[in-house]
Symmetry: C2
Subunit: 135 residues, 2 copies
């Protein structure tokens, strides 16, 4: 364990090296000590399975719509085992997702109807554009 360089970690997580460093700056990933032959402050940082899991956690949570700030909070909650707050965050996110999903569905259906109308209608203005204009 702890054999990966930063490029290896990035590859394992499907992100770029600069993104890993960015997450470190944001406090989402740890920055291990540089270890090398010449003691203090020399050498290269190495990463292990834990870091890969953490990085993948970040990407999954991000896919679920959490912001990096919320993800940092989830990580902190994990450390102190605060289930109540974690549940709270999860429920907030579910509500936000539900709202957004409904909105996107409505938009999708409206657009779908419009594209069909645009196929059918032969004269006059394009329904796709006019439809967004109230009346």
């Amino acid at each position: 364990m702890r054999e990966l360089t930063i490029a290896g970690l990035a590859r394992a997580g499907g992100v770029g090296v600069e993104t890993v460093r960015y997450y470190q700056r944001r406090g989402l990933l740890e920055t291990p000590e540089r270890l090398g032959s010449m003691g203090h402050g020399s050498g290269v940082r190495r990463y292990g399975e834990q870091d890969v899991r953490r990085l993948r956690f970040i990407r999954s949570a991000q896919a679920a719509g959490f912001t990096l700030e919320q993800i940092a909070e989830l990580i902190a909650l994990d450390a102190i085992d605060d289930r109540t707050r974690a549940r709270e965050l999860a429920r907030e996110r579910i509500a936000a997702l539900d709202a957004k999903i409904a909105e996107m569905k409505a938009a999708r259906d409206a657009l779908s109807r419009l594209a069909r109308a645009c196929d059918d209608v032969s004269g006059g203005p394009c329904p796709i554009v006019t439809a967004f204009e109230p009346q």
Copy 2:
């Protein structure tokens, strides 16, 4: 017609004055001539129903997930009556919305299961946090 000041237009569209100016800079809204008692370049700009419709169009299209750049394109297409391209944009957007909706639904369901699991499970680590970590 054409009796609104910029603040009236902004109010009618449910946005701030600075947002209207921003849309003007982006070419999404027109910037009418300043008209006043002292000729050239004096006076205040006035807006009418057309502008309100345009502003609402922008907000609706935005709600459907179009970027401001795409909205600018839709507006331009309307002007030259290019239905083919408008349909193309609509279909692209529908596909993107479908993908995003599916992704968000999956995330929503996963989170929902997790919140329930977090209620049930009494000992051990919080499932909400561990679940995102692949094994």
